[in-house]
Amino acid sequence: MAPDAPRKNPKNAVAPRTSRIKDSTSYKVFTVVNMTVLVLMCAVMLYPFIMLLAQSFSSAGAINAGKVNLFPVGFNLDTYKVVANNDNFWRAYGNTVIYTVIGTTIAMVLTTTYAYVLSKKHLKGRGLLIGIAVFTMFFNGGIVPNYVLISSLGMKNTMWAVILPPALSVFNLLVMKAFFENLPTELEEAAHIDGLSWFGIFFRIVLPLSKAVIATMVLFYSVQYWNDWFAAFLYLDKTDLFPVTLFLRNLIAGASTAASEGAAASGGNVDAINANIQSVTMILILIPILCVYPFVQRYFVSGIMLGSVKG
């Protein structure tokens, strides 16, 4: 629209037609059934979370007596205070944030650049490069050789042991490669004619057009790093370096075995305290993902779908 063109007055705009095509009975039935099933599924998904939330605000005794369901019983904030004052928890939490931020950044650099290279069909050795990546989806050296490798590379007991091994997910790589292959080659050719280098094309043309898939991959990688405990379990020997997921895993395992160990449990209420602390810890760990997800979610479906269909 030209800058001087008269603006349309919304008030004078033609009102939308109110008459609609009448829904058929079968469609109405389908909608009702559909909604019911979806609401039920939603309830099934939400129930454990709400129960967890209720437990986190409940007294330990009420949890042990099985009284807590959807609402807190014996409401208290003490457990939140206990967890909030636990230095080990926050240290582990901080580690997770660091691993997630640095890991996701490195993973995105590796994945986008590798995927872009693989999307160029004229690249010599492209098949081999794809083969190398795909090979790792089916075969790996096993835990002990991997451990020895990481140890020999001097990465044991450093954050790189947690960050680098999973920094290139082949699944994500292939999704991204498919996405890049679908970008119109004419755009790159035009940029090339205008004098942009490969890196220029990549950073100034390709990446700005790939926000949806990048957002999706950032979500994938950050959730992967956030939830990962296994690499830390394998390669880290100092609790100072443990991520919060390992802290939580330890907490849950500890709570579930404390009572079965006669010596540990012949006094005190260790497991009763843990029932509370587990819930609070889980809630606190879930919060960042719950906060981030709604903002990235709108890119999520389109991103994954764009990559999935090759034109």
Binding site: G66, G125, L234, S266, I273
Partner: protein, 557 residues
């Protein structure tokens, strides 16, 4: 249009193969870095060792040494390198302990990984009997039996507490044992029957001593509380069948193990085909039929602490007896406080009921001990390390220190041996001086897992609740531990074959046991069940066990 330029680095197939081979070689070399076959002369590897080290003397290294140790990080007791425990040990012994932390949740897996990768610290604690077997053939751990003559405290208490036969049973196929256990002057079953003592006393007039008395008691309780199913397990049958089995001199539940038991002819046979096992199953079948044994509690999966629903049932007074430890008793008691009210109930852990075979409980057992990484045999501090660990694990003063801290700083000991924590110090786990300020466990590192290993009876009772001390007394005065199960260490090939055979056989036993108990299978099918086990390879399995057993007897007497 212009042809796009190629990337500057386009690796060829050959260069990649070369890179991969180089990477593999690096890994292979790194993995095979250790050499073996060197002679060990422990007497000459004596830097830091004491010349006059004997039992019950204080060990102090003649020069500072370091011992690396695997430390399992308990979630409720997060390890701190600054704990007073480590400083105090250093002051006493001149030994600095350096730690490798492993999370409690997956401690066994991480330990295996570290040992397999040759990366384990010198001291590998929290090793239970039999857990050394997988590491024997690799030579990754030290054959401790070769060096126990350098451990005078260990030898003294093995003899004093009459444990020599049990130590002999630790031997592996090569006649050596690779772990040294925590010695217990007395041992009682950790899991037994937790009952509502007040209800039993009110309804039956006494606490049940035998399975028959328990059966009668449960019937009377059922009459008074018709909606109840008075007996439960909560551990998928594992705990109940285990402590019950000894009353029939058979095996069951968690204690099933390899399923072998000495038959009347002296040869090993399989417990699940014996009449004793059948008789035990028939009792539980009757209990289920009469609505006295909670079916759900035998099948509902649990997270290791017992299905939480049993505590709920206790609280709701629909269950009055269940398997558990003294900790379970406290859990049930807490749950009852919420419903019945504090002071209106009494929950007790009682000795496992006696049965047709008499008043038997499980064989005496060891508690967790330690293994040593075989790298230590190349160290000049080998002898000093052995002496230090002998002191740490078996010297009474060291055991008391590990449990209670520094004498006259954290605790006092009266003439009669009574130990009390000093003001300002608590051991919250055992509700001793709870909330007094400094917890000797979480703040100072005492009473952590190293304290659990070797224990005299007095030390065990010093921190136990009066109820648990009473339970120990009851068990020791009224029950007889069974003889130890005969050892039958296998070589690597036999182990592999046996485990391949044992898994399907044990699965059949587990399934059929529950089917018989639940009434889903008629007892007339007992012979058919035995035939199923034979078809699953039981004769071959027993042959393997008997061969290993005969070989062990021949070699060790």
């Amino acid at each position: 249009m212009n042809t796009p330029r190629h990337f500057p680095f386009a690796p060829t197939r050959r260069s990649f193969v070369g890179l991969s081979a180089a990477a593999f070689a690096t890994v292979a070399l790194a993995a095979c870095g250790s050499d073996s076959g060197e002679e060990v002369d422990v007497e000459s590897q004596n830097v830091g060792a004491m010349d006059d080290y004997t039992a019950d003397t204080q060990f102090k290294a003649t020069e500072p040494i370091q011992v690396s140790m695997l430390w399992t990080d308990w979630p409720e007791v997060p390890v701190e390198d600054t704990w007073r425990l480590f400083d105090h040990i250093k002051e006493l012994t001149n030994v600095e302990i350096t730690l490798t932390h492993i999370p409690f949740s997956d401690a066994t897996e991480k330990r295996s990984l570290l040992i397999s990768a040759g990366d384990a610290p010198t001291l590998i604690p929290l090793v239970y009997t039999g857990e050394d077997a997988p590491f024997v053939s690799s030579g990754a751990v030290v054959p401790m039996s070769d060096y126990v003559d350098k451990m005078p405290n260990f030898q003294k208490y093995v003899e004093e507490w009459d444990l020599a036969d049990m130590i002999g049973n630790l031997k592996q196929e090569d006649g050596k044992y690779y772990m040294v256990p925590g010695l217990q002057e007395v041992s009682v079953p950790v899991f037994s029957l937790v009952i509502r003592k007040d209800v039993f006393e009110e309804v039956t007039g006494a606490v049940p001593n035998t399975w028959d008395e328990l059966h009668e008691g449960l019937k009377l309780i059922k009459e008074k509380y018709p909606d109840s199913t008075p007996l439960a397990d909560g551990f998928e049958g594992g705990a109940l069948f285990n402590f019950a089995s000894h009353a029939w001199l058979t095996k069951g539940g968690w204690g099933f193990g390899d399923g072998s038991i000495e038959g009347p002819d002296g040869k090993l046979t399989y417990v699940a085909i014996t009449d004793e096992y059948k008789t035990m199953i028939e009792l539980f079948r009757t209990l289920v039929e009469e609505g006295l044994l909670d079916r759900e509690s035998l099948t509902a999966s649990n997270d290791g602490s017992g299905a939480a629903s049993v505590a709920e049932k206790f609280a709701a007074e629909t269950c009055f007896a269940a398997s558990g430890s003294s900790g379970t008793a406290i859990e049930f008691s807490q749950a009852l406080n919420e419903t019945v009210g504090e002071g209106n109930h009494s929950v007790a852990l009682i000795p496992p009921p006696a049965g047709p075979a008499g008043e038997h409980v499980e064989p005496r057992n060891f508690w967790h001990g330690f293994m040593l990484n075989s790298q230590i045999t190349k160290s000049e501090n080998f002898l000093a390390t052995l002496q230090f660990l002998d002191w740490l694990y078996y010297n009474p003063d060291a055991r008391e220190m590990l449990r209670w801290g520094e004498k006259d700083v954290n605790y006092t000991k009266a003439e009669d041996g009574t130990i009390e924590l000093m003001d300002g110090f608590s051991l919250d786990d055992y509700a001793i001086n709870a909330g007094a300020g400094t917890d000797i466990k979480t703040d100072l590192g005492f009473s952590t897992f190293p304290a659990e290993s070797t224990e005299s009876r007095a030390l065990k009772e010093s921190y136990s609740t009066p109820e648990f001390v009473e339970y120990i007394d009851n068990v020791l005065s009224t029950r007889t531990p069974r003889d130890p199960y005969p050892p039958k260490p296998m070589d690597e090939t036999e182990l592999e074959q046996a485990s391949l055979l044992a898994t399907p056989i044990k699965d059949s036993v587990d399934t059929a046991t529950l089917q018989f108990i639940m009434g889903e299978r008629d007892m007339s099918e007992w012979d058919a069940f035995k035939s199923e086990l034979e078809a699953a390879g039981l004769p071959r399995y027993l042959e393997l066990l008997n061969t290993a057993r005969d070989r062990f007897v021949e070699a060790n007497g």
